[in-house]
Amino acid sequence: MNDCVLEARGVSVQYPGTLALSNVTYSLRRGQIGALIGENGAGKSTLVRVLAGITQPTSGQLVCDGSPLPQSGVEMAARLGIAIIHQELNLCPNLTIEENIFLGRERTRWGLIDHREQRRVTSQLLGRLNLAVDPSLRVGDLPLGQQQLVEIAKALAGNVRVLMMDEPTSALSAHEIVTLFRIVRELAASGVAIVYISHRLEELLEIADTVTVLRDGRLVAEAPASEVDVPWIVEQMTGRSAASSQAAGEVAVTEPILTVDGLTLFHPHGRALLRDVSLQVRSGEIVGLYGLMGAGRTELLESIMGLRAAAQGSIALGGKALDKLDTSERIAAGLAMVPEDRKTAALFPGHSVLSNLTISQVGALARRGWLSPTAEQVPGQQMCERLTVKTPGLNAPIDSLSGGNQQKVVLGRCLMTAPRALLLDEPTRGVDVGAKEELHEKIRQLAKEGAGVLVASSELDEIRALAHRVVVLSRGQVSGEFAHHAASDEALACAASANGAIQEVRT
C-alpha cells in the first residue's frame, strides 16, 4: 500500500463527557477524493482535526508514508504538506488577500516582505480559482463565498499532499462550486489526497471516490462512491432504514400561537440573510425548520427573539405584536430559545447548575427583592427531576456535566418561564444518542402540553423524529413546506438546495 499518504490507526479522542472518536482507522490515498459523512457530532470534524495535528488523540497513532509519527502537531502537519480548510473561516479580515495567503510564510528579500513576488503568486492562485479580484483587497471587504475561495487558495499556496475540506461549499454559489470541484479534481489528478466533508449528499456522490460514514464516533461503513446511493448513506448515518421514520402524527388544528410575517434581514454588508420569510406555529405543534448551513435558520430564530435589530417584518405571539419589544420583554411575553451554540450563547461557565437553571426567573423567584436559597432550590430541583438531569448536585459547576445534561439545563431554563412558544436551534448538537432520545421525548411532551415549538435542525433524522410539519429554508427564503408524511429525505434535500423561491407546497 504505497499509495497510503496518511493514516489514522485505531484513533480515539476522549472529550470531557463524550467519546468523540472511538478506535477509528482511516487512511488517505494519493490522488483519491474521500468523502467523510456523518451527522453533527458524529466525529467528522474531530477526525479531521486529529489528521491535521490540531487535536491530540487520546489513544492510537498517525502513520505517514508507512512510518508512525512520533508526535503530531500543527507544525509537523504543515511540514508534511497536510492542509485543512475549516468550516469556519480562518482569515484575518483586516489583512489583504495576499497577506492572508502568505501569513506565517512570507516571501522575503533582504529581510523585507517581497510584496511583488507575493502578489504575483497570489494572482496565479486566484486565477486558478477563477477569482478575478485584486490581491491587495482586504479580506473583510469580500463577500463570504470569495473569502472561502481565498481560504482554499491559502491551502493551495503551500506544498499540499493532503487537503482536508470541512464543508467547503456552504458559503459558495452554484457557479463557485463548479469551479471548486474542477480544482479538487485537478488536485487529485496531480496526486493530492483529499478529504471532503459535506452535508450535501448529492454533491458528495458527484465528487468523491470513496465514502466513509461515521456515527457516534465510530467508523460504521466505507464503500466506493460508485456503489452507493443517498438512501444507503442516510441509513448508515442514522443507523436505521430511511423509511422507518418515527411518526410524529397529526396535530389538531388550533390557532396559530406564533406568527412570522414577511421577515427580512440584511447583513451589514448588504447581503440578504432572510428574505420575506413567513410562517406560523400552532399551539401544540412542532414545526421543523430545515435548511443547509447558511440557509438562515439561526438568523430566523434570532430575529424572532429580538436579537437582530436590523430585522424587518412582523412577529406576533398569541395575536400580540412583538416587534417593539426587546429580548427580555419577548421572554416575558412567552417566548424562549435554546441557542445553537451551547458554550458561547447559553452556558454561564463556572456557575452552578442551579444559577444556570434559574437565571431567567430570578426576578420572579425573589421575594421582596431577596432570593432565599429555598426559593430557588425547590423549583430548580423540580426542573432537574422533570428533565432527568444527571448532576452531582444543584451547586455543582455546570462545566462538570456532560453535553446532554448541560443541554437539559438550558432547556430547563427556558421552561422555567413557562413559554407559549419555544424556539430550538439544533437542540441536540454535541449530545450523545441516549440524551438525544430523551430530549426529543421532552420536546414532544412540551408540544402535547400546548406549547408551539419551532425546531431548527440540519439533521434530517431529527426533523423527521420531531416535526408535525417542516418548513425548508434555502438561501434565506422559504423554499418548501411539507406535512409530516410528505417530508421525505429527498423532498427536503431537494427543497433545501433550491435556488429560487417556493417550489411547491405539499400538504
Binding site: 476522549q14 470531557p16 463527557g17 427573539m305 436579537l307 426587546d326 429580548t327 427580555s328 421572554i331 416575558a332 430559545m337 441557542p339 458561547t344 450563547a345 447559553a346 452556558l347 454561564f348 461557565p349 463556572g350 456557575h351 444559577s355 434559574t358 437565571i359 431567567s360 430570578v362 426576578g363 423567584l365 425573589a366 427583592g369 431577596w370 432570593l371 432565599s372 459547576p397 462545566d399 462538570s400 456535566l401 456532560s402 431554563r413 418561564t417
Partner: protein, 337 residues
Amino acid sequence: MTLKLLQLRALLVLLALLAVFAALSPAFLTTGNMTILIKHVAINAILAIGMTFVILSGGIDLSVGSVAGLAGIVAGALLNKGLVLTKWGVVVYFHTWLVILIALAVGALVGAMNGWLVSRIRVAPFIATLGTLYVARGAALLLSGGATYPDLAGRQELGNTGFLQLGSGTVVGVPVPIVFMVILAGLGLAIALRTPFGRRVYAVGGNERAADLSGVRVKSVKLWVYVISGFLAALVGLMIAAQLASAHPATGETFELNAIAAVVLGGTSLSGGRGGIGGTIIGAFVIGVLADGLILLGVSEFWQIVIKGLVIVSAVVLDQLQDRQAQRAVALLRSNS
C-alpha cells in the same frame, strides 16, 4: 467550589502576613496600629466593593480615584463657599446632610455617565472610564482653581458643621470609616449573592450573549454597576476629605489601581463572572497589612512598591495554576463518570 478555595488561599496569605509582621515588629499588633491600618483598608475596600461589581459584570472602572477627588472638592466648595448665585446676588449654604447627598449624587452621576457610555454607546469600559478619569479630575481642579479647600469643619451660624464626623467620628468607639466598610461589605455580599440583580451581574460577566438570551436586561445591569461604583467612590472621597478636614483636588490619584489590585487578589476574574465581595475584602486587607507592616519594619518606600507589585503578580500566577489544576480535575471527573 474553586471560588471558595481561592478565597481561602487569599485568607491564608493574609494570616501569614499578619503572623510575620506580628513576630517581626512588636508595634504591629497594638490597638492603635490596627485601628490606623483598618481605617486605611476601609478606604480601599469600599472602592473595591464597587469595583468588584463592575469587574464581575465584565467591565472595569478606572475613574473611581478621580470621582473620589471630585466628590471631596464638591463638598469642600459647598461647605466653604456655598453655592454662589450671582444672578440673584445670594450665596446658598446647604445643611451638612444635603452637602453629603449632593456630593454622592455627583459620584453616582459620573458612574451613570460611565454606564451609559459602556452600555448604550458600546465604548470599551477601559476607554470610557479612562475618559471620565480625566474629565472628573479636570472638573475637580476647575472647581477649586487647583487650590485646596481648608477647614471643612463648617460654621455654627450656617448650620453646616459636623462633616468631619464622616472621617474622624466614631460609633460606639469604632471609627466611622470602619463602620461604613463593615456595613457596605455586608450589603455588597448580600446583593451579590442574594438578589436577582447580583445574579444578573454574574450572568452578564459570565456570558453576555447567554444573559441576553435568558432575558437579562444587559444594558441596565451594566449601567447600574457603574452607578454603584461611582456612588461608593464619592463616599470614599467624602471620608478622605473629612479625615483630613480639607479637600484637595488631587485626592484619590492611583486609588483605582489599588482597588483593582484588591479585587484581583481576592480571586475575582478580570474577565468577569467569577469571584465575589468576600475575596475583595480579604484582598484589600492583604494590601493594607503589607503596606503597614513594611512601614513598621522600616523597609524603604521604593521597595514597598516593588514588593506590592510582586505580591499581586504572584497571587494571580497562583490563581492560574490552581485554575488549571481544577480544570484538569473536572475533566478527569467527567471522563470517569
